[in-house]
């Protein structure tokens, strides 16, 4: 440690009136000073690790232990060892697999259009615009809305009878759709809520990255005769690659967690089961239904570990794709 901070002593305590202070006291003071320097950084970062350890990491590991037990909502202090029963119970439940595929499908259906639109919007906002701050703020307003409010408003929009969307479709002469009942239409409905809330946020992230691209690159490209579209494809997109990867990771993790949107799309008992045929039930809703609606916390914990496994699989796929992209680029 001492070797890494060779110059520290130059910034020691002041030598105020050194004649009066005894040698022993000065030694004590400089020891105190050094202790302050060594301990302070750890003291400053400790709150994060304490809170995360107590309310994040410890419960995460403890989940695995609970998953091997029978615990009921009615008696939280009674844990009974059941081994792998909870896992085999959820793995044999077709509803679990429906939830896995729903989570995956809604994840893709919301993330891909969202990021593409965000990329296009960021490109537009990167032009010299009148009232640019106004545009940036207005596309971010959905971010200020909570999941609950957004889901409830869109629940009205997507209603089969008296829904705003069906009124519009009827008005322009298209048929009447029962949005929440259909397998695809209900997933579209939930994806639209997600897209509405998060596109503005991603747009700003892309815009920030675009503004950091050096102007010379565009000048060089336009001297070489590149059109605007070619500049976008050959200069902007490659410069944004790390940012795009970042938003893909963040959106993927976010879509694993979708809860409020499906829960509140129809509300009531249909919310807890993700529709009458579980057509829009996500893994989080499945976990909630098992643990908080039916009161079996053991299987709910098993679902949490299944989510962890899925997350690791997605991370592995991400890593493989990243490696493939890097290799083919090189």
């Amino acid at each position: 440690m001492a070797t890494s901070t060779p110059t520290r002593d130059t910034y020691g305590p002041p030598d105020r009136g050194s004649q009066q202070i005894s040698a022993a006291r000065q030694k004590w003071r400089s020891r105190l000073w050094r202790f302050d320097d060594k301990a302070s950084p750890y003291a400053y970062i400790a709150p994060f690790f304490l809170v995360f350890g107590a309310f994040g990491l410890y419960p995460l590991i403890y989940t695995g232990w609970i998953a091997l037990h029978r615990v009921e909502m009615t008696g939280l202090d009674q844990m009974q060892w059941v081994g792998w029963d909870n896992f085999s119970r959820i793995l044999q439940d077709s509803e679990f697999w429906t939830a896995v595929s729903n989570t995956f499908l809604i994840g893709v259906m919301s993330t891909v259009p969202q990021l593409l639109v965000a990329l296009g919007l960021a490109h537009l906002l990167n032009y010299k615009l009148r009232a640019s701050t106004f545009w940036r703020t207005i596309i971010l307003t959905p971010y200020a809305t909570s999941v609950a409010s957004a889901a409830l408003v869109f629940a009205l929009v997507f209603r089969a009878d008296g829904g705003l969307l069906n009124w519009v479709l009827h008005f322009i002469g298209l048929g009447h759709t029962n949005w929440t009942n259909g397998h695809w239409t209900s997933k579209i409905a939930i994806s639209i809520i997600v897209i509405w809330r998060w596109t503005g946020y991603n747009t700003l992230i892309y815009l920030a990255a675009m503004q950091a691209v050096p102007t010379d690159l565009y000048e060089a490209a336009s001297i070489d005769g590149a059109s605007r579209w070619q500049q976008f494809r050959k200069v902007t997109i490659p410069s944004l690659r790390p940012t795009i990867l970042f938003t893909i990771v963040i959106s993927t993790i976010g879509s694993m967690q979708l809860f409020g949107e499906p829960l509140l799309l129809e509300g009531g008992t249909l919310g807890a089961t993700g529709g009458n045929e579980n057509q829009y039930e996500t893994l989080s809703v499945y976990l909630y239904n098992y643990g908080w609606n039916l009161g079996h916390l053991g299987p709910a914990a098993a679902v949490a570990w299944a989510m962890l496994a899925l997350l690791l699989i997605i991370a592995a796929i991400n890593w493989l794709i990243g490696r493939f992209v890097r290799k083919s680029a090189a």
Binding site: Y58, P59, S146, S149, A208, P242, G267
Partner: protein, 305 residues
């Protein structure tokens, strides 16, 4: 000691010699990049997206100010009606909204204050202090961003009931006292905005580390703390998953009350929308006032990766 504008000296050789590591140059320069003039197509596209962004919020207001029958009529209303006060009243009574508002303010306020304090301290330590394991620990902080809360809610719920916080606001406040994003955000800001010279000068003047934090780091960090504070407040105010599991009908936050209102046996959609309006309005006001700053915060937090 007050610092109005942290000056960055060009003479970095001294600093580099003293601290070994050269400072990373800033990658974010506002105004750089492609600056071609936008054509009419850009404005039309932005207008469409802008309307799409605001329309659901407007529809909330319209639906909250009519009766349910009018809202669900074959030709729905397009202008706000006169039933807003009635519906707000009904929502207030049915969903403990008065208590929910107080709870939401307490929860979001506590989380924001704690996050600002702890994240500034940790961000300062990661940005400007040298200690063993700094890089690894910072990686650990960022890695925690990828862990969804779903993975730990079951034992968290049991723990909270174990220590007597079941259904209480503490169970929502304590797990979110510090955020990994906040630590990262403050570190990025302070590593750019806080010159080493300032810290060194204070130390030569005899300040210990706490004194440096109080009289130098906090004043320099204030603009970033404003932004982080607003982002944290928005997030805490809008949080749904864990509060919905942890709190109950008698002691909800606004979002929880809203969820329960819609989950009741036959919810009146206009009253639900009145509740949604109450929960959204405060943040919209914040957005109108501080929109520019929040936009800037998201953009600067994102790019300095």
């Amino acid at each position: 000691m007050t610092i109005t504008s942290p000056t960055r000296t060009r003479d970095s050789s001294v600093r580099q010699a003293a601290h070994g590591a050269p400072r990373r140059p800033s990658r974010f320069k506002p105004g750089a990049g492609q600056q071609m003039k936008a054509g009419p197509f850009a404005y039309i596209a932005l207008l469409v997206v802008g309307i799409a962004s605001v329309l659901p919020l407007y529809w909330t207001l319209v639906a909250a100010s009519h009766t349910q029958d009018e809202v669900l009529d074959s030709t729905p209303p397009f202008l706000p009606g006169g039933r807003l006060m009635h519906n707000l009243d009904a929502a207030w009574d049915q969903a403990h909204l008065g208590k929910a508002i107080v709870n939401s303010i307490v929860v979001s306020g506590c989380i924001t204050a704690a996050t600002l304090f702890f994240c500034t301290l940790a961000g300062y330590a990661f940005a400007k202090m040298r200690f063993r394991g700094r890089g690894g620990l910072m990686t650990a902080v960022i890695a925690t961003l990828t862990i969804p809360p779903q993975l730990s809610v079951v034992p968290l719920f049991m723990m909270m009931s174990d220590i007597g916080w079941g259904g209480k606001l503490e169970s929502v406040i304590f797990p979110t006292l510090v955020s990994a994003f906040g630590v990262f955000f403050m570190r990025q800001y302070l590593s750019e905005a806080l010159p080493y010279e300032l810290i060194e000068a204070a130390k030569i003047d005899g300040a210990n580390n706490i004194r440096v934090v109080l009289s130098i780091v906090l004043p320099v960090a204030r603009p970033a703390m404003m932004v982080l504070g607003m982002l944290t407040f928005v997030q805490a105010w809008n949080d749904f998953f864990w509060p919905y599991l942890a709190l109950n009908q008698q002691n909800p936050t606004l979002q929880v009350a809203l969820g329960q209102l819609s989950a009741s046996y036959t919810p009146d959609q206009s009253i639900v929308m009145a509740g949604a309006l109450i929960s959204t309005l405060p943040l919209l006001v914040v957005f109108v006032i501080f929109g520019k700053r929040i936009v800037g915060g998201i953009m600067s937090g994102a790019v300095k990766g």
